[in-house]
């Protein structure tokens, strides 16, 4: 039962990351929808822990890449080194050849390095020296980004942001969750002891099940109305792309699976919509990213039929 797997992962994850059930669900939905996740927040709110937890609970091979301004593309994808004995170049795979990558502070690296990662994310393969190396399956990238106004960052261009299915913010924990965090055990130790609750092939099963979830005509009507509203809104610089529409439906399917339904409801769309749309939309005047309030208003402009 794919839905049960999701519940099992969430129950375990909630014991380690406190008070972040919704964000955990969204992260899992992103994984189930075969998308990549962007977490944008201040340092220290648990971005890394979240990536760790997911990798651990599903039993995925995990790699963390700390992005810095001097990081080179080869540091990510790997290099071909001449092997004397074999008299040929041998490819040494980089850290990207893992099932779950945490690309920490992605906006600290140069655009060139960023694009190397993003290309690999999109194509799920790496080409080095005219040789193609497929990436492992499942392949999931969680990129974290500091708020872009911090010094020494290269903000990701819009076209690159589009590669991420969802963007979430973790934010500060609420009072009781923070108290439990402060008084409880060290999260890292807790994580060390935590065994995997499902296997990677269970994740594949969930991904397949999500793909089979019903999207009715009426729901597509609603999604199209929503997309059209973003495109006609005078407050936005540009509307959502068809790719964003596909992402919206994929994410909503995954969300419906986690909710235990075999069909997508407008509520699912409404839940994932801010996370799918926020990093792809910019306001018309100053080009800043849209606020959650603006997105909420946008959803209210579209009647559910």
């Amino acid at each position: 039962m794919p839905h049960r797997y999701a519940i099992r992962v969430l129950e375990a994850a909630n014991c380690i990351i406190l008070g972040k059930d919704r964000e955990l669900r969204l992260a899992l939905a992103c994984l189930i929808a075969r998308g990549h996740l962007l977490i944008e927040d201040l340092p220290g709110v648990g971005k890394t822990t979240l990536a760790h937890v997911i990798a651990r609970l599903i039993g995925l091979h995990f790699q963390r890449i700390q992005f810095t301004s001097d990081l080179l593309p080869a540091d990510i994808v790997g290099v071909s080194i001449f092997d004397r004995e074999a008299s040929s170049f041998r490819f040494h795979p980089g850290p990207i050849f893992s099932q779950l990558i945490l690309a920490d502070e992605i906006n600290r690296a140069t655009p060139k390095t960023q694009s190397a990662l993003l290309e690999a994310m999109e194509e799920r393969q790496v080409t080095a020296d005219s040789e193609t190396h497929p990436l492992p399956e499942p392949f999931f990238v969680i990129a974290t980004q500091n708020p872009s106004h911090q010094i020494g960052t290269f903000p990701l261009p819009e076209s690159q942001l589009d590669r991420f299915l969802l963007r979430i913010r973790l934010g500060y924990p609420d009072r009781s969750a923070e108290r439990a965090l402060l008084m409880g055990e060290d999260r890292r130790e807790l994580l060390e002891r935590q065994p995997a609750v499902i296997q990677p092939d269970a994740l594949l099963a969930m991904q397949q099940a999500a793909h089979a979830i019903t999207v009715s005509e009426r729901l597509v009507d609603y999604v199209q109305a929503l997309l059209a509203t973003t495109r006609h809104s005078p407050e936005l610089a540009a509307g959502l792309s068809p790719r964003a529409g596909l992402g919206l439906i994929a994410a909503a399917r995954a969300w419906a699976l986690i909710e235990g339904r075999d069909h997508v409801l407008p509520e699912d769309i409404q839940t994932v919509f801010p996370h799918v749309a926020a990093h792809r939309l910019h306001t018309a005047g100053d080009g800043r990213s849209v606020t959650p309030e603006a997105l909420g208003q946008l959803v209210r402009d579209v009647p559910v039929v």
Partner: protein
Amino acid sequence: MRDTRAPTPAQFGWLLAAVTATLAPHAIELPYWLAILCASLIAIRSALLWRRGKPPHQLVIVLVAVAAGIGVRFEFSHFFGKDPGVALLAVLLCLKLLESRTTRDLRAAVLLAYFLQLGLFFYNQTPGIAALALAGALLTTTTLLSLEDAAARPVAQLRTSAVLLSQGLPFMLVLFVLFPRVQGPLWGLPSDAYSGMTGLSDTMTPGSISQLGLSDAIAFRAEFDGTPPPPSQRYWRGPVLTRYDGRSWRPGFSTIAREPRYEPSGRAYEYRLTLEPHNQPWLLALDFPAADIPKTRYAGDFRLLAEQPVRMRTRFDLRSYPATAVGKVEDAIVLAEAQRLPANVNPRSRALAREIATEGAGPSEILALTLERLRGLDLTYTLSPPLLGTHSVDEFLFDTRQGFCEHFASAFVFLMRAAGVPARVVTGYQGGEINPVDGSLVVRQSDAHAWAEVWLVGRGWVRVDPTALAAPSRIESGLSAALPDWDVLPLLRRPGMDWLRDLRHRWDAVSNTWNQWVLGYNPDRQRDLLERMGFPQPDWRTLAMLLGVSAAGLMLLLLAWAFAQRRQHDPLDAAWTSFSRKLARHGAARHPWEGPLDYGKRLAMTFPEHAEPLRTISEDYARLRYRIGPADPHSVRLLARHIRRLKLK
């Protein structure tokens, strides 16, 4: 061309049903052989359709057509006018069925069928005929629909057709109200326009009124403002008969003037009279009409006359004064005519009259004595009196002693004249029945009556009803009460048929309304209506403009409605909308952007005592709506029922 495709059996079936429904009401008007021919042609075509046989050879069809044409020529002796025209069209439509091979042929037959539905109104325009024509139009429209979409379900097609017709209804009303009216029967040719009208004639022979007594047909209706006069005062005056030739009575000398010859006095009754056409000028007003009734004239014998014979159902607003004294001063000619008797008839009655004349001192005494003698003769009132010979009054008074009102009136007037008192016969209607459904007074042909008037010095013409001697209840309670049990009576006059009479009353009320509002809508009333709407003296341009504007307005309304209805066709949407409406009345309308589950959750919080059903309904809706494929109709009905039964405190 797709029109050359062969029609499917279903399409043909619809057409056959439409043609049958169209022609069936025509059957009574068609010559019987033609009706049989049409029926058998339809039957043959149906049999061919059933057994998938081949239609007959073209030559056979042509031969039948020619033969039918010749038959029609013989039957009507010409081809022009509505009767031969309709007859020919009917038989051609049936033949068209036989030769139809393509959907295009079916379309032609459909057009013919529409025309023949219109043709039903050439003969009569009762609500029943209107309903039959509508049924025919419904089936014919369904045929057209099936030609467009052969795959649709029959019930759905019927429903669509009904919806289409009802959408046409407002346009029909606008056209009815605003289309310029033409005076007179539009389709009637003079020769056949006024045939078949029944009513009083201006001659009376023994048996002429008892013949009418068998007819249930309505003579006129009267709607009184306030209480109608009592039955004993309901004398509706028709022809006044003075000349007597020993057998029949005819009208005598009478003047016609713009003013009545009397001063109306006493209590007045205002009423509206709706007269069925009888092709005679007299209006059958209640005695005695007021002096200022427009478009009428006054006869010297106190009849109220129309300017032309009444050939259409017509309404008159009248006022009558039953207590008026009339004819105190009377023409010598009239009085002389009122005393004249043919020689050598009824010797026994003459002897009786002489006896009375010597006994009585003056006209009043003679009148009283005559009535007394008549009462002493023990006469019987009956609808079917024995036939009388030459001396009809003698035979009636002394031999058969059975008679209808005309016998009584005739004998009484004879006796009075023989005794030297001026007297005359008045025919008309007496009584009438109040329809309990709409309160109008219905007077039927069976209420036809004959009574007498006697001229007394100083008092003028005095009404005497000799029938009351033998059958007082005829005057008070109508015909049925007065007749002996064994007599033949029209069905509706028989006591013990109350339920039937009640039904009849209801139907009368319906057809009266129909007559007043549909058939009675003539140029005058159209003008009145338009004037009241603020268009004084409308000419055809105003009418055309009004028509155009109203039609365009209706069109826009219909479009708007269709737009609003588009989504509501889905029963699931309708159920969900009604759910939201129901809760809106409790202040919890669904926000337009709100999904079903969110709405359900919010409702459960707003109405904690109903949380369970509210959540179930919204969850059921969400599942039915957003699962794949069309929702299962049974579940949708179930959900709709849950929503209907949901009761909030």
